[in-house]
Symmetry: C2
Subunit: 478 residues, 2 copies
């Protein structure tokens, strides 16, 4: 087979079959592959490079806010998992159990961590002595396992990669501040680095984390109008501390229980990137996490001096962006499609005539806008173009979210919207779980969050007509 003839196959259009479009991108952009174990994924080099960039930026933000990384074990003894009642009820049905080690049958089953609150609490109980050691601000990067029935790469897999922060504090106030601080870190990360606008708010009692006093989340809207919970931050009060007997000597020389938080962001966020920014030509990557920010495509690369100049240009640009030359022996058109599929923000076309004129053509992955740029201005222009790219991505996503967000004044309107308009529905709510359940069963929507930025959309709960407590956002979710 002449590989120059091998074309980049088209992917299923988004409007035709959104789920298939998603799966096509995951496969054709070489992000992930299926593993031989049900529901697990292999994150391929390109997907891993994206995760490494996410890791690197977030980790820097965690360290800048005083957090330290630790590495906790993979296994949790069953007795430890059971110490906090709500927590075990939430997680036990979906964990994987190790029952044999070598040839020996274990006397106590070990679960493969679905999350590590119990391990951190056990550790805190052993190392904490005095208020002077507080706060303890820990984080770890690892994978966790939840035995999901239906799975999709990045969005829902039996094993997924994430970071989980776990902190303990002297007072409830400080722990609540930490909960919010980390939600703000996630917000900044999503908006300023991933170009994904998010809505911050509280989860309802029904949707909060197993064992938490409250959960805060950021919610993003995907291309198809569905919500993707993109990061969560939990406040535990002293519930876990009491269950695990974590205590410290206070300033008043009394024994006290610290107040606790946890917060996490996972490889799901790669799903959010795909479904917020992607289009029918493939992935579109926000520059901050794109493994390649600009790809140089030599045109007529067999001609003397072209490849040399392309590699020279890459060297010049290395200090301002992540750049790569594609000198494979495919045709330029094939390369254009290939790098569009992989979501590379900028393409730099450089042929013999460009070199003569001391210029190149820079093409944006968004809208294929073409810029003729003199070569000696390129190092200055690329960062500007990447910056513009980020803003354009963000604005597009925000405009879409706004155009797909509706207000329901009453229940009929809510049902009608749920039936006809993909997107978010805002309404007032009485705070009663019965109403929340009714919306779930009859409209097929779940509560996404009670936004921090409350709106006065009316005086009555859109579901039962009773006095409203707050505004809330409903949606279908991943």
């Amino acid at each position: 087979m002449d590989k120059n003839k091998k074309m980049v196959e088209a992917i299923t259009p988004m409007d035709e079959d959104f789920a298939q479009w998603y799966t096509d991108i995951v496969r054709k952009a070489d992000l992930a592959a299926y593993a031989p174990v049900r529901g697990c994924m292999i994150v391929r080099p390109y997907g891993t490079a994206i995760w490494e960039n996410i890791h690197s930026i977030l980790d820097g933000m965690f360290k800048a806010t005083g957090h330290e990384n630790v590495m906790m074990p993979l296994f949790i003894p069953e007795s430890l998992l059971q110490k906090e009642k709500d927590h075990v009820e939430g997680f036990a049905p979906e964990v994987a159990w190790v029952t044999q080690g070598g040839s020996e049958t274990l006397t106590e089953r070990l679960c493969v961590r679905p999350t590590s609150e119990t391990l951190f609490c056990d550790h805190f109980s052993k190392v904490l002595t005095s208020y002077r050691e507080l706060p303890m601000l820990y984080n770890q990067w690892c994978s966790v396992v939840r035995w999901e029935k239906t799975t999709r790469p990045f969005l829902r897999t039996a094993e997924f990669f994430w970071q989980e922060g776990h902190t303990i504090h002297e007072t409830a106030e400080e722990a609540k501040e930490e909960t919010r601080r980390m939600l703000e870190v996630y917000t900044t990360f999503c908006e300023d680095y991933l170009a994904i606008p998010v809505i911050r708010g509280y989860k309802t009692e029904r949707e909060k984390f197993a064992g938490a006093e409250f959960t805060q989340s950021i919610e993003a809207m995907m291309h198809d109008g569905k919500a993707l919970q993109s990061g969560t931050s939990h406040y535990f009060g002293d519930g876990f501390s009491r269950a695990f007997n974590v205590q410290f000597t206070s300033r008043n020389n009394t024994l006290e229980y610290p107040h606790q938080t946890s917060w996490g962001m996972s490889t799901r966020i790669i799903g959010a990137i795909i479904m917020t920014h992607g289009d029918d030509d493939g992935l579109v990557l926000p520059p901050a996490i794109a493994p390649v920010q600009a790809v140089i495509i030599p045109v007529a690369q067999h001609k003397e001096g072209v490849l040399e100049r392309a590699f020279g240009l890459a060297e010049e640009l290395r200090s301002v962006c992540r750049v790569k030359v594609d000198d494979s022996d495919h045709q330029p058109g094939w390369k254009y499609s290939q790098h569009e599929m992989r979501g590379v923000p900028l393409r730099i076309e450089l042929g013999p005539r460009d070199i003569e004129k001391n210029q190149c053509i820079v093409v944006s992955r968004l809208g294929r806008e073409k810029h003729i740029v003199p070569l000696d201005e390129l190092a200055r222009r690329i960062p500007e173009l990447l910056d513009d790219f980020h803003k354009e991505l963000y604005n597009k996503a925000l405009a879409r979210r706004e155009s797909m967000t509706y207000v329901a004044a009453d229940y009929d309107a809510l049902l009608e919207l749920a039936d006809t308009k993909p997107g978010f529905i805002k309404s007032m709510w009485c705070g009663d779980e019965a109403c929340e359940l009714k919306v779930k069963e009859e409209a097929g929507l779940t509560s996404r969050c009670i936004p921090f930025e409350q709106e006065q959309l009316g005086e009555h709960c859109a579901i039962c007509g009773g006095p409203a407590k707050c505004s809330i956002i409903w949606g279908k979710s991943y």
Copy 2:
């Protein structure tokens, strides 16, 4: 309790009880703690920061040699593990088995990966088509599980953290070159970054990796004369490829099996750092991986201007080293001991009189050498002092290894040395496994490696007296 009176407790002297000395350092330098699961460890923030520095340097070296990271699943189906006969025999007795997922009993057991050759091979079989895609040069950072009976933090734990490289190549020659190239990367890393001199060589047939054609390793000598295998690189030939049906279309349009390698370095290397460089005052860290390379200790810090100058100095030094001010309210003497315990290479003492004279005192963790350094020369001097520190560490370790390496001309000498002299014993060997076993059973030594740098120590095997094939190194090992 007045915490200024809380003294840094002494650790067990190395000569009194080496194992206890090691455990004391792990605990008092806050490197690791025991987990609630048998044989697992919690790597605490300081230990994790060391591992992150190791990760960062090694990862850069892997990428510079063309490798890409991937993230493979945690689980291996039993049928997959069994595909390569020697491999499953080697690993099956020591793996942890998942038999239940949620409430369901699995129809096929899943082992928690002890190493990932089988997963990589399965993946290669699905993605490889043509010689044009070769070599595939993959690596992953993860943890693996081996159900060990006796465990010690870093040295041998049921779960440990590592990187595992897995590559496939068009020819045997290229795969062998890769095997050696990665052993050289490990060598450079150990010697130039960790200041640990190593001996490179081949493992014997008996000691090679389960499923490999040959294994190369680097061996380091610890303070007590025992060997620690610090990194391994394996050549598999096409054995795994055949077992997993990994094939590609060759240049001649025939179907061929690629040749394969794998190579790994683990958190064991932190054990090697402790036992190569540590002393009776605690840890001694090579500057390249020390989380803090220089700690500033303000003297009389309550006096006006002292703390301010200390923090100002830290700012000035930030671009040349990892620096920290210890402004805790302990006494300076306590702080000195504390940072010595944690192995910080340089201590900078700064008091009111130093500030008056525009100088400070720099004390090396090695030999407590004191240097009076003018403050405006510090940013230039610190990198030099760190560089000297590295060299001194390396030379000390090398001199010790040389002084504890012996030559045995015959079996009596070998038995005598094994009995009386901790360290390495070099001898000639006929290559026969019977002789190797005899040394193990009667002298209590294992073969460490057949060094690349062969020596002509005689003509006869030191064990059986038969014709010698090669020189070999014997030792007790961790």
